[in-house]
Each structure stands twice: as structure tokens, then as C-alpha cells.
């Protein structure tokens, strides 16, 4: 980990580049990470973890003995059960089981490692976002992408090493997705903007031509070189390098954005030319292009999954927006030979309750509350064993009964796939060696290829 710890290493000279690609703890398949973050928490019960037994209980409260250990955000343990209306089917050679609304995943079924036994500690969005990405419920720690960047550096000389792309409404996790916490702020994820320049101030100001811009950059560097010779401060050499890099970023980023150069078939697969997939599909395609250009970590967030009400209508809508592009991304990565070196993770910050959220008096508009005790996520690609389903929940989807996987375990597994022992990827802060998995985390061996 040479040179990473600003705080930790005595005697280093200035101008160390923390993002020079680095060797992890052990050889690993995955070099990049794409996290498809379904913020707000998709209902696993209606998508990936079928619970036919709920139909029988629909409209009734469960006996207190079954709910006594549970706490939810809005509903109380005596809330009535909401049955699931979705038909499920088995897909692929592996027979991965999921509901009709995400049947677009059929072609990628054998790539998916479905984990039905996820658990987390918080049933409110913000703390759950924080624990999913920073390993801990209180703010102030670095997010997953920042840790990976800290550990592996970046392959890209012209683009940020960690990019966040987002669509959807009610984006609540915000900083949890890109904060560098106590790591140097240069490790922070760069949220690409939805309008204007993807990176702030990327464009040359109005009224200045590209040639004039280049001239001004050149004069800055000439003056800085003169000063470097006078003072001998190597920081000035770093400043010159960052100006050179900024100039390169200005030149190369427009090429990144030229989605028109993709083939018609690719554009169609991601759905970039039609609604409702346009915005999310564009981000998925952009994620592939970023990884192709050496960007280490890409977050692709869609944040409209908090279905307390209108489950039927809104959950379907979100599936229509995201299922096709997600399948396209996995297939595209595979076809280009990138899936082996790219780990893809799909999921939300927690799950949803089998009990209904009936805050809306019309039963047809019922939804589900937050559920931290069990939920489903899946992973694919780099280092992950495809075509398996891990873990089991009880008949009603209240709790995990087999192979529990805590979000800290998932983090340990992600880091493992990228070549890290999660207990050794640490950073000294406030007198303590912190790590992503806090004080917990076990690699989930069953998920590994």
C-alpha cells in the first residue's frame, strides 16, 4: 500500500501520486466494480424471493409470537400481511427464479449469483445507505468506491477513478455513495451531472476558443516551471502535472460522451433511444464505456424504489426502466470479454416487509415497509460464481434461515474479488486503523467462482 496513507508513512517525498495502479494483496480476477444501486429498496418478495405462503395470510396480522422480535420504520408488528401477486418462473440452465416483471433477465440468469439471505442493521434509509457503502451507520467514513480507489489506484489518466451516475427520484443517500470520509478528498467519487458538463467546469468558458485555452494553460505551466526552478518545491511539479492532466481531461472527455459511435444494436439493447429506459440505459452504457477507459469504480444508481404505497404500479414502472438495461450491460460486458474482470453488484439498502404498509386507505394502493432482517441482492462477473442462489428465508420472508450474509460480509466479498483481505485494507484515522467492514465481515465463499 505504498504511499497511500498520507498520515502513515514517514519520510516520503512530496508529489506521490496515490492513484498509480497498485497491486492488491493477492492476484484477483476483478479489476473493476460496477454497483447497480437500486436505492429505496426494491421488494425482494415481488421480484427475487417468492413467498407463495403469503397469499394465505393476506389481510391478516401474524400471531405476535412470530413478530415479537421485529421493529419496522413505519408499520408496527401487528400490520396486516400483503400477499404477492407476481408469478415466478425459473430461468436459464441454473433455474434462477424470479418474477415476470424482471423476466428481461432471462439471458443473464446463469451469470447471476443471487443472495436471498442478505441482512443489514438499519431499517431507515440514511443509516442503511451508510452501512451498505461505508460499513457503519454513522456518517464520516469512506464509501466502498473510495476504498477500492485507495487500494487499487486508477487505470485512467484522463478520467476520475470513481464515478457516480444517477437517475430516479428521491435520492436520499447522496454522499453515502461518493464520500471519501476520512480518506483524502481526492478519493471521493465524482458524481457525473445529468445536465451540462458531466464533470463540473469541464468546458472551456464561453468566448474562449480551444486554441486560446491551450495557450493560457501553457503560460500557467511556463510560469510554474520558472517558480519551480526558483524555490525547488516539488509540489510545484505536481501542480504542473495536474494542470497538464486537466487539459487532457478537457480533450478526452467529449469522446467518452459520444454514444452515437455505439452500434445501433448496442443502443437498442440498452434502450438509450426510447422511454422509459433512456436515462437509466444511457447510464448503464456509460458505465461500460467508463470501465473500458480505465475507470475503477462506477456507481449506477436508480433511486425510486421506496414503495410504501402503490407497490403494483411503481414497482413495475421501476422494473420497466431498469431490467432491460441491466441485462444489456451484463451481456455487453460478457461479449466484450470484460465481465471476467468486472464485478457487478445489484441491490438496495435493505428489503421490504411481507407485512403491508396500508397508510393509504385503498388496499389496491398498499405498499411494503423497510425490512432489514432479510433481502435479496445479486452479483455477477469478476470472481463471482454465476448460476447459483445462496441463502434461504423463512416461509413468510420475515427472516433468514440459511446462510445469512450481512452487508459487511458482502463488502468483504467484494474486496476479496478485487484482491483484498478486507481486514488488511486499512487507514489510520483518529488513532485507529479503520476498514470498510468495521469490526465484522466474512468472505462469502459460496459466492466465489
Amino acid at each position: 500500500m505504498g504511499g497511500l496513507g498520507l498520515a502513515g508513512l514517514p519520510g516520503l517525498l512530496a508529489a506521490e501520486d496515490p492513484f498509480t495502479p497498485k497491486t492488491p494483496h493477492f492476484p484477483a480476477k476483478a479489476k473493476n466494480l460496477i454497483f447497480l444501486y437500486m436505492e429505496g429498496a426494491p421488494s425482494q418478495i415481488d421480484l427475487l424471493d417468492p413467498k407463495p405462503a403469503l397469499t394465505k395470510w393476506h389481510g391478516q396480522s401474524l400471531p405476535p409470537s412470530m413478530t415479537k422480535d421485529f421493529k419496522f420504520a413505519f408499520i408496527k408488528p401487528n400490520a396486516k400481511v400483503l400477499g404477492c401477486r407476481r408469478p415466478f418462473a425459473k430461468y436459464g440452465q441454473s433455474g434462477a427464479e424470479f418474477s415476470d416483471w424482471i423476466s428481461a433477465w432471462k439471458p443473464i440468469a446463469d451469470e447471476m449469483c443471487i443472495v436471498r439471505s442478505m441482512r443489514t442493521d438499519a431499517f431507515n434509509h440514511q443509516p442503511a445507505d451508510l452501512i451498505l457503502f461505508t460499513g457503519h451507520m454513522l456518517p464520516g467514513r469512506p464509501t466502498l468506491g473510495s476504498w477500492v480507489l485507495y487500494g487499487l489506484g486508477s487505470e485512467s489518466r484522463n478520467l476520475p477513478g470513481f464515478v457516480v451516475l444517477s437517475t430516479g427520484k428521491n435520492n436520499m443517500s447522496q454522499a453515502a455513495q461518493w464520500t471519501s470520509g476520512f480518506l483524502p478528498s481526492s478519493h471521493q467519487g465524482v458524481p457525473f451531472r445529468r445536465t451540462g458538463d458531466p464533470v463540473l467546469y469541464l468546458s472551456t468558458p464561453k468566448g474562449i476558443t480551444a486554441g486560446e485555452q491551450a495557450e493560457d494553460f501553457q503560460l500557467v505551466n511556463e510560469l510554474n516551471r520558472a517558480r519551480l526552478d526558483t524555490t525547488g518545491d516539488r509540489e510545484i511539479a505536481s501542480r504542473i502535472a495536474s494542470y497538464e492532466m486537466a487539459a487532457r481531461m478537457q480533450l478526452s472527455t467529449p469522446e467518452l460522451l459520444e454514444l452515437g459511435k455505439e452500434t445501433a444494436a448496442t443502443r437498442a439493447a440498452y434502450g438509450v433511444d426510447q422511454e422509459p429506459t433512456k436515462a437509466f440505459g444511457t447510464n448503464c452504457l456509460m458505465a461500460r464505456r467508463l470501465v473500458e477507459r480505465g475507470v475503477r469504480v462506477v456507481m449506477v444508481t436508480h433511486s425510486s424504489w421506496d414503495q410504501h404505497t402503490e407497490l403494483e404500479k411503481d414497482l413495475k414502472k421501476n422494473c420497466d426502466i431498469t431490467a432491460g438495461p441491466v441485462a444489456a450491460l451484463i451481456q455487453d460486458l460478457k461479449q466484450r470479454g470484460m465481465l471476467d474482470s468486472t464485478m457487478v453488484v445489484w441491490g438496495g439498502e435493505f428489503g421490504r416487509t411481507p407485512l403491508g404498509d396500508f397508510r393509504n386507505a385503498e388496499e389496491a394502493k398498499a405498499g411494503r415497509d423497510h425490512h432489514a432482517s432479510c433481502f435479496t441482492m445479486w452479483a455477477a462477473g469478476g470472481g463471482i460464481r454465476g448460476g447459483v442462489t445462496i441463502g434461504k428465508t423463512d416461509e413468510l420472508g420475515m427472516n433468514v434461515v440459511e446462510d445469512p450474509v450481512h452487508v459487511n460480509d458482502l463488502q468483504a466479498t467484494i474486496l476479496h474479488c478485487l484482491g483484498f483481505d478486507h481486514t488488511r485494507l486499512t487507514y489510520r484515522h483518529m488513532g485507529r486503523d479503520f476498514r470498510l467492514t468495521d469490526v465484522r465481515g466474512e468472505v462469502v465463499r459460496k459466492m466465489l467462482a
Binding site: G3, P10, G11, A175, Q188, L219, L223
Partner: protein, 763 residues
Amino acid sequence: MRIFLVVLFAATVVTAADFGRDVQPILARRCYGCHGPKVQMGKLRLDTAEAAQRANRRIVELTGAKKMPPTGPLPEAELAVLRGWTEKPWAFQPIRRPAGAQTIDLLIAAELGKHKIKPSPEADRRTLARRVYLDLTGLAPTPAEMDAFLADRSAGAYEALVERLLASPHYGEKWARQWLDLARYADSEGGVQDYARPAAWRYRDWVIGALNADMPFDQFTIEQLAGDLLPNATLDQRIAAGFHRHTITSREGGVELERIRFEQLLDRTSTTASVWLGLTAGCAQCHDHKYDPIPQRDFYSLMAFFENTDEVDLDAPLPGEWGIYRQYEKEFRKQRTQLLEEYKIAGTLEYWENGARHAMANPGLRPNWDVSYDSYSKLVDNGRRTLLKAPSERTAREQDALVDYFVKSSAGGIGKTTYDALKLKELAEKLKKLDEKYPRLSTVMTLAENGAGERTHVRIRGNWTDKGAEVRPAVLAALPRPAGEMRTRLDLAKWLVAPENPLTARVAMNRIWQELFGRGLVRTSEDFGAQGERPTHPELLDWLASEFQRGGWRMKPMVRRIVTSATYKQASTARPDLQTIDPSNTLLARQARLRLPAELIRDSALRASGLLNETVGGESMRPPQPDGVADLQYSMKWEETKDRARYRRGLYIFLQRTAAYPLLMNFDVPDRTVSCARRETSNTPLQPLNLMNDPVFVEAAQALAARIEEAPEGQRLERAFQLVLGRGPTPRERDSVQGHLPRRGWFGVARALLNTDEFLTRE
């Protein structure tokens, strides 16, 4: 993206044994077998830092006398480590004032002498002037100010300049920046919604004022932790007590109020410990501190001082507000009452209140009411308490807040049909307009004791729902404590600045040093514990701390003493001869070149171009920023400040926690979620993009070009360098600029100069 960082250097000086690193492994290997988690012979257990520290003397004696361990004496190397293991970590030991007549320069020279290193010569006068202007006021000298200083050839010219700068109203602005990082100051409250805290700036003004007045640090401490508890507390003292109002909060639906309160208590406790004691007490939330003598129990005892404290907003009219308000108050009340009557809300309001109270007492019966009550309790401060009071017992402010919530947001409880039938949405609009027509008095944020008598409990493994033993308010047992019982925040504050507390003065002086040299004598200025770094110059630190206390905790005399020292005045030029002996300049054989903090970069560009509005104090402003930045945030609108206020100093930029102004983020301003004692200094390509392409800097370059062109043709180049760098061009620079000028004109030159490393750096 390749990003380079300024690597700040770790101390290489190794002194006495470090408990966690050196001692604990020996104890674990040699002693735990009989005095560890499983067996405790002689009732002695050594597997926690606290217990081992307590038994320190016995362990050292018995092993030294070869009586322990019974299996045979320890190897000499281990015995040496144990001998070097002092009873208490260095920072917990009393301040030891070095003997004899001392000065900063003598104490620095003593260390340099040991390594046979010579200090650097004094910086040239231009560099020195620019340095001290930036360090004391954050504003580089104008060409006229520079000329005046250079023209003064008297012996005391520099000292006289220092006096002028210490007396400048901009001194408080410059030094407030560091304190606001510590106070995790922001203009919004954090959390999902991150609503604005429009009154936050009153606290910032207090800090600037207190620093300008050179309020002694003991008083500065007492007022911020317990200003409300002082006899006949003034408004200013109560504003000061808003220090702990800058804690982030959450209004997310479904989060338990008690949990939010607990997290705020955690923050207040940890922040107090790190700001004043330089200790990472937060580690003891879940378990005894592994390295420092802070048992978990002590952490919660410290928390107990804050347990019965409420967040309170006070009416605090600004000059001119009160008179006008009194004139229209009656009219406002009348119209508001009329509106509420016109829309016949009384019956439904009572119905909603009953429903909400019922849901509070009987959760789970009616889901829609559960949600309605939950949302009310989050969005209305202290709303739960208001709801439990009879309407006649509520203050006008409480009643208004409840009614406003009802009118705006009760649909979930009373049902959409009723809500629509009463046309409450329309009423909400009218009430909002009325508020805009007759603005309420300005408020300030502060704390107050609530007398609830809530007891504090240790939380097992730090889990807020898992209560352990009850604790009373008390300060850390490892530090000298007063004899009597301590009860209040005032007791706590007085203890922090008591002469026998060795930490506060050291920690505060170290931060002053850090501000003037780029690194503290203890580099980890947030952590004076065993895991932090040791002081590079322990005697100097103690001498400064002692002088600070003796001088009545006044900060300006200490700043004066440092900036007039030869150590401070040295050139910052790199020295090849130090490259291998002291590459990180811990011995201070030269000054440091320091990149300016974000706020000062903007101030400097605006000042060089003549755009800076130097008004001191006042509310926060929102300079223009690209569309879409605010979209990252959940609820806010970034309403650009249109008038000259937007050219005010960077300190006054509205700090929206979840979507901070891009320049602040790009240049390492902490997000102010938690207290920060030390900013990192990064060097990223986003920085040049910001300075080259942000319209604010383009505007500054244009204004600067116009200023340059005011000079006669032959003097423009000289003028340009004087305005931006406080010096004339070298022949090499002259050539570069002249090569550039024909194609790019003075605008291009101005733009380039504002981007030079030298401009962004305090040399």
C-alpha cells in the same frame, strides 16, 4: 485520474514506549495467561489498556525485580520497553515548563543543533509581508500596502506591521475558519432533507467577534459550552452556547426520535473531547478505549453533561427589526387568526391533534395516523412536547409551528377528502404569503437545560437501545479532577480550562502553531493519545502552553510571539541539504510553502481583481454556481445572491452540507459532518478545471485585466505581477508573458497569473 497529494510528513522521532504498539504485546505474551480474560490470579486483570495503566507501577517493579513472571525473568529488551512505559501517556502528564529563559527560537535551535542543522535565513521582505498578511488576515497586501511596508526601513517595521494586522477586523475572519471546521459549522442541518439553518451565521459572527476582541480562550470555551448557564447570560453568550447546535440531525420518516437524540449526544461528546482535549473519545462509545485511558464508562459520564440539554431557538432581532415588528405584530396576528377562522380549521385541528396523540400512545392501530404523527414529530422541532401541552400552555411559536404543520401536511392523518374539502392547501399558501409580508423576528440557535432529570446509561457495545449501568456527569478519571461533584456543562467547561488540566492549553496552542507552519508540533492535532504522533518539540509545546495559561489564555499575544520569531520568518525555499536528514521539515530549519485553503483562494482572486467585498460579518451568501449542482441535494434551491454581497469572502459562502459549493469541495473544505482539526491538502485536476473555467474566476481575470490596463503601457507587466504576486517579474517570466501577450492580451495573462502555484500558495 492521476491525483497528487501534498504528503505531510510523519514524525520520525521515537520516544518512550507506546502502549498499544510496544507494551500490550508483551503483556499479552507474558501475563495474560494468569492475568487475562480467562484467569485473574490475585484478582489482577491486565487485558484492557485502562487496567494495565492502573497496574503500571506494579508491573514495572515486579518485572524489574525479576519476581514476575514466575516462569523466569523477561529478556532485557522487553524489560527496557516496560521501563520506558510511563504511568500515563505523555499528553496526560502535567505541563512541564522548561527551565530558564526560553524563546521559540532557542527551543527550535536546540533540536536543530542536535542534528547539526543550520536554520534558513530570513525570507525576503516581500515574501515575509505577503506571508504574514495571509496568515493573520487571509488577505494578501495590495501593491500600496506592500510599498508602504518596503518603504519603512525602521528597525521595528515588521513588528509594527504585525500589530496592524492583529488589530485588523479581518484577523477574526481568518482565524474563524479553523474554529468553524472544529465546530462543524454549516448553514444546513445535514440528513436527508438537509434543510437550511438560516440563523447559523449568528454564531459565525460571534466567533469572528470573539477572535477580533481577543477573548481569552478560557472564556471562549466557557461561553461556547455553557454560555446559557452563566449568571445573567447575555444574548451573545447564548449565541456562543450554540456551538453544539451545529451537530447534524435527521428528519427522515420512520427514524426514532430517541435514536436521533442519542446520535447527537455522541457527536457532542466526541467533539468536546477532540476539540479541547485532543482525544479520540468516540472510540469508547462501544468499548473501553484500546490505547488511551478512557474506559467506556468515562465516555458516558462525559455524555451525561449533555443529557438534559434541549435545542432552543431564541428571538434575537437584528438592528432595525424589533421596532418594525412591534408595529405590525398585532396586524399580523389579527390577519392570521382571521385566516384560520375563515377556513374553519378549529374542529379538524383538534381532531388531528387527538389522532396524533392517540398514535403516539398507541402505535400500530391506524397506519395512516402512525405515519402522520411520525412525520410531524420529525418536521416540527420539539413537536412531541408541544402536542402534549394543552393549546393554552403553548407559546405562540409552538402553536404556530403545530398549526402550520397541520395546514400543510395533515392529509395523511385526516384523509385527503377532508383535507381538500377544507381547502387547506390554499390556506397554506395564504399563510406563507402572510409570513412573507410580515417576517418573523430573526432567531438564534442555542442550547438550554430542560430539567428533565434524564439519567445517562452506559450503552452496551454502543447500541443506544441496550442500556447498561447508570452514570453521573464526570470528567475523565485519567486526568486531575476537582474534589466536589460535577453536575453541569458549566462545571465541565471550567474544568477544561482549569490550570491543572494539561491537555487544553497544549491542544489549543498546537492548532495555532499548525495554522502558522502547516503542521502542528503534534502533527495529529486531533489526537494527542497513544495512537497519535508525539510532539516533535515537547519542550516547546509545553513552554507555549504554559505561556498561554500564564498570559490569561489570550491568543493574540501567542500569535504575535510566533510570527515575530526567527523560526517563523525563515525562508521557505527547499534545501537540498535537508533532503535526506529532515525531508519532512519536522525540525523547522525552514518555513513551509502552504497551499491556501479554498476560501482564501477565492478571496485572493477577487482581491487581486478589485472585486472583493470586504464587509465583515453578516448572513451567508450564495455565489453563482453551475445549474445542476443543487440537484444533488434533496430539497434545497440555490437562490443566487444577486448584489455585491456575492463578492464577499469565502467564509460567508452558504455551506449546504449535502451539496457544498464546488470550489469548497474541490479545495478540501471538510463536509462539516463531524468536527475537523486538520484539513488535508489535495492536488487534483478538478482544481485547475475549477480555476480555469469557473465563470467566477473568468470574471476575476477580466476585472484584473482591466486594472492592469489602467497602468501606462510600459508598466503593465510590472503592475500585473504586483497585483497578483506582490512582486515584479523575473526576466524569464517577462519573456514568457511577452511571448503570450500578442495572441492572448492582458486577459490571458491575468488568467494565467491567477492560476500560478505561487498565487495559490503562502510562501
